[in-house]
């Protein structure tokens, strides 16, 4: 299929032909034409009715313009938010990651089933000690202007990411690369970073220590390349339409914030022959109900969210389009384990035992969540089934009795009820969940007070390390490895260990796992660590997220997968 030529019809402004006098033919976007018989010119309008008459004549023209006709091979893709940036050193959100995956290709990447596969690197060798990765780049890797993608481009991109002057928010994901942390904190020059080009087609990365999940990390946007000449020319403002040179299956044609990103097929992409789409229009749609209406009207082909209060409607009316699949996200509460009485395992366990997770997942969240009894969500690559709490299958009554016994042992009961304060960020679903949980806790005599703030205030409070009782929290994997979950409880992870959990056994297990070269052994150690976490419960697991998507049956090659990753290069569209 041919690539969209320079003069793509995508952005042709809609002309209002005819001006109410019989319009002959109207050119619709995408080059389609609707031809109509000219209507006789209306009689000369009488004074006072001119405006109304003109308006009446205009109306049918406008309705025709709105007719849902468009080119077949453009995927109109609704996303829940606008990207804050298209610079892989400055992105942070899931939506930004989705869009960057269309534009940029790292050394390794994922296919539409969520399976790791070669990207710019055709193959790679790992040294026996697991410290040195040598990537052999594919000879046909090209930027969207036709220039070859070289090992030096990756060296440049990694150095830029770690350069403190860049201010990359997620640079610490790749602190696994040798000297990365020292470079990022300004202690060493960028040239000392553990990446070098052996020749234009060979890139060598040296690690700080053997890291079993390093390849998975390389799929993260922080490891995606930027085109050095653009950065040299435009500085930090290179990631705009008309400037951004990309090496993925698509390239950026235009972008109006809060409106649309228009992507066109990159003719220089090494797999361009297999890319069926001519382009994508990515529409940031914050209002999920409005997005659902646009989907129903056929204005978008897919949307990565479903309003929870409309789940029943969607299930009933759009069974073919509604795709729900487990994803690598957990919904949990965190206890301040430094704070009385939440430093007491008995209290934490009692509060966990009485929660009816099936009710939360099915009734509050309309089945878009799964009940969560583990900390690591199910489906993590190589990890197998996660460890779960031992009491998962006990009857609710036994669990309640056990919880009451634990609370009594900790000194709480009907005459001495536990009073706790729960903090969360503003959201109808979070509120409904918290109210239900507080009601479940009430059987233990617990009295819950809520503090609801806007999201920024909530996260700023968590970052401030002020004492609290219980907070709402959650986590989505940056890369699919159990370590990316379990590190939330490491004592030397002050930024993200909201529970202030500190346990030498746990830290030792996590360290053992980090240096364990054998993949199977390493997963066993991580399982042991998770078991410690579930016994101690610094975090109270409630649910695991599922990705809910609306996908038109017209789209082929769109597959559900745990990383909720849907690259357009595998997608085709039929009418």
């Amino acid at each position: 299929m041919s690539a969209v030529a320079g003069a793509s019809p995508l952005s042709v402004p809609l002309p209002l032909a005819g001006r109410g006098r019989g319009w002959g033919s109207i050119r619709l976007p995408h080059g389609l034409k609707i031809t109509t018989t000219p209507t006789p010119a209306p009689p000369p309008p009488r004074k006072g009715k001119g405006i109304a008459a003109t308006l009446l004549c205009l109306l049918p023209a406008l309705f025709l313009l709105a007719a849902p006709a468009r080119a077949d091979t453009i995927w109109r893709r609704g996303e829940t938010a606008d990207p804050g940036s298209l610079d892989p050193a400055k992105t942070s959100t899931v939506v930004e990651a989705h869009i960057l995956d269309e534009l940029l290709e790292g050394l390794v990447t994922y296919d539409n089933k969520g399976v790791l596969k070669p990207g710019v690197a055709a193959r790679w060798d790992v040294s026996a000690d697991g410290l040195i990765y040598t990537f052999h780049l594919r000879p046909d890797a090209r930027w969207s202007n036709g220039a070859p993608v070289t090992a030096d481009d990756f060296v440049f991109s990694f150095r830029r990411l770690m350069d403190p002057k860049t201010g990359a928010g997620y640079a610490n994901i790749l602190y696994t690369v040798k000297n990365a942390e020292a470079v990022n904190t300004g202690k060493l020059p960028v040239e000392t970073l553990g990446i070098r080009a052996l020749d234009p087609a060979t890139c060598e990365i040296t690690l700080e220590r053997p890291t079993a999940y390093f390849l998975a990390q390389l799929t993260h946007f922080t490891a995606q390349p930027v085109y050095p000449p653009s950065v040299a020319q435009y500085g930090d403002a290179f990631a705009r339409a008309g400037r951004l040179v990309s090496n993925g299956a698509f390239r950026l044609k235009s972008y109006l914030p809060n409106d649309a990103l228009v992507l066109e097929k990159n003719p220089y992409f090494h797999d361009a022959a297999e890319v069926a789409l001519d382009g994508e229009i990515i529409l940031p749609l914050e209002d999920q109900s409005a997005a659902l209406r646009r989907f129903l009207a056929g204005e978008i082909d897919s949307y990565d969210g479903v309003p929870v209060d409309q789940i029943a409607f969607v299930r009933a009316h759009l069974p073919d389009a509604f795709k729900v699949a487990p994803s690598l996200g957990s919904y949990f509460y965190a206890f301040d384990t430094k704070q009385k009485p939440f430093d007491d395992i008995r209290v934490r366990k009692a509060l966990s035992l009485v929660i009816d997770r099936e009710f939360l997942a099915n009734s509050i969240w309309g089945g878009t969540m799964l009940p969560g009894y583990s900390f690591v969500p199910p489906g993590m690559a190589g990890y197998g089934a996660p460890s779960t709490t031992g009491w998962k299958d006990e009857s609710p009554f036994d669990r309640e009795d056990e919880a009451k016994r634990l609370m009594a042992a900790a000194g709480y009961g009907p005459e001495h009820p536990l009073q706790l304060t729960f903090r969360m960020n503003q959201s109808e679903n979070h509120k409904a969940t918290a109210v239900a949980v507080a009601d479940m806790w009430a059987v233990l005599g617990v009295r819950t007070t809520f503090i609801v703030t806007d999201a920024t205030t909530h996260y700023a409070f968590l970052a401030s390390k002020q004492p609290f009782d219980v907070v709402r929290s959650g986590w989505f994997a940056d890369y699919p490895d159990a370590q990316n979950y379990l590190f939330l409880a490491e004592s030397d992870n002050p930024g993200l260990n909201y529970a202030q959990f500190s346990d030498p056994t746990y830290d030792a297990l996590m360290h053992d796992a980090a240096v364990q070269p054998d993949a199977g052994e390493r997963q066993k150690i991580l399982h042991k660590a998770e078991a410690v976490l579930l016994a101690q419960l610094p975090y109270l697991p409630l649910m695991t997220y599922q990705a809910a998507n609306l996908v038109s049956p017209k789209l082929r090659g769109w597959e559900t997968n745990v990383i909720d990753h849907h690259p357009g290069r595998y997608v085709s569209k039929v009418e």
Binding site: P13, L14, P29, I51, L62, F63, L65, A66, P68, D82, G84, S85, L86, D87, K90, S92, P164, K165, T166, G167, A168, G169, Y170, A171, N172, E181, N184, T185, A237, A239, R240, L256, P257, N258, D259, A260, L283, L285, E286, D287, S289, A290, R293, R294, L296, A297, E299, D454, A455, T456, T457, Y459, A460, F461, L462, A463, G474, P494, G495, L496
Partner: protein, 306 residues
């Protein structure tokens, strides 16, 4: 007249400065900052970012830095839309909000004044009832209800108009948002016109005209001139509000205007973006109030600026 314009513009400068200073302080008082998000940043990385955006400076220095940039017409970098400056964002979004706002005001004036006159001239009967019903509906039903209803009716059921999107300002994409924006304004303008027109029709000079036996349309035209004054006063702040966009309409219809920047900016603590919105709204209020005063001089013979 020129003197009025000059004095008003001169007094606008300290007003705007006070607005800027106050909102600068209020934004900094809000808990959290532009880099507080679900995934907390490493403190070392946070330090890098604060340095890059000059947030590590003491507050007075930050304010001075901001004012200095502002005087040079630079609204600063956006911390949320990190590939753009606030100037870039507003250059694209402001014309869109202004366009929709102007269309909504025009519609509100044409329809509202017509309805108001109708309701005042035919005081009883179905016309007056219709006007009363429509204006009550427009006032009572909030736009976040009206907008989805219009989407369902015209976009999904009748399939006449697109449900949402901007599409480079295609006319069909503007009808529902403009209608939604205009509806409450139509109601207010209709009520104001109707009440003022009733009073005007009962005024002694109109009675005199009637006594002379002038045709009805002539009498009504005279009454309307006086009746438009309350509408004119209302128009100043209303225009400033409409032209600077509506978060509800822009979010529901997916319009890339500046209304969303105000709220999104405040929620994500994008200081420069919020400040820019404040400056623009403040300037619009000043300008429109001035325009209203000038128009008063033209419409009301009792007001003359010499």
């Amino acid at each position: 007249m020129l003197r009025l314009i000059l004095t008003r513009l001169a007094s606008a400068i300290p007003t705007l400065l006070a607005v800027v200073a106050l909102s600068f302080l209020l934004m900094r008082l809000a808990p959290g900052g532009p880099f507080d998000a679900e995934r907390a940043l490493d403190p070392k990385i946070l330090a890098n970012l604060r340095r890059i955006y000059h947030l590590d400076l003491p507050l007075p220095a930050q304010f001075g830095y901001y004012l200095w940039s502002l005087l040079h017409g630079d609204l600063g970098p956006s911390t949320h839309w990190r590939d753009f400056s606030v100037n870039d964002l507003f250059a694209k979004a402001l014309p869109i909000s202004v366009q929709l706002g102007v269309e909504a005001i025009a519609l509100a004036l044409v329809v509202g004044i017509t309805l108001g006159i109708t309701g005042a001239v035919w005081r009883r009967g179905p016309a007056a009832f219709g006007v009363a019903a429509l204006s009550t509906f427009g006032l009572a039903v909030p736009i976040f209800v009206v907008a989805p209803l219009l989407q369902v009716a015209f976009g999904l059921t009748l399939r006449w108009l697109p449900v949402g999107g901007w599409a480079d300002g295609a006319p069909s994409h503007q009808i529902l948002p403009v209608l939604t924006l205009a509806l409450p304004q139509i109601a207010i303008v209709a009520r104001l016109t109707q009440a003022a027109m009733r009073d005007a029709l009962a005024a002694p000079h109109i009675r005199t005209l009637r006594a002379f036996g002038l045709p009805a349309w002539h009498i009504n035209a005279h009454a309307l001139r006086g009746a438009l004054l309350p509408v004119l006063s209302y128009l100043g702040p209303a225009a400033a509000a409409l032209l600077t966009g509506s978060i509800v309409v822009e979010t529901i219809f997916g319009i890339p205007g500046i209304g969303r920047y105000f709220v999104d900016g405040a929620l994500s603590r994008d200081y420069t973006l919020v400040m820019a919105t404040v400056v623009i709204v403040g300037a619009m209020v000043v300008v429109f109030n001035l325009l209203v005063d000038i128009a008063y001089g033209l419409v009301d013979p009792r007001v003359r600026y010499d």
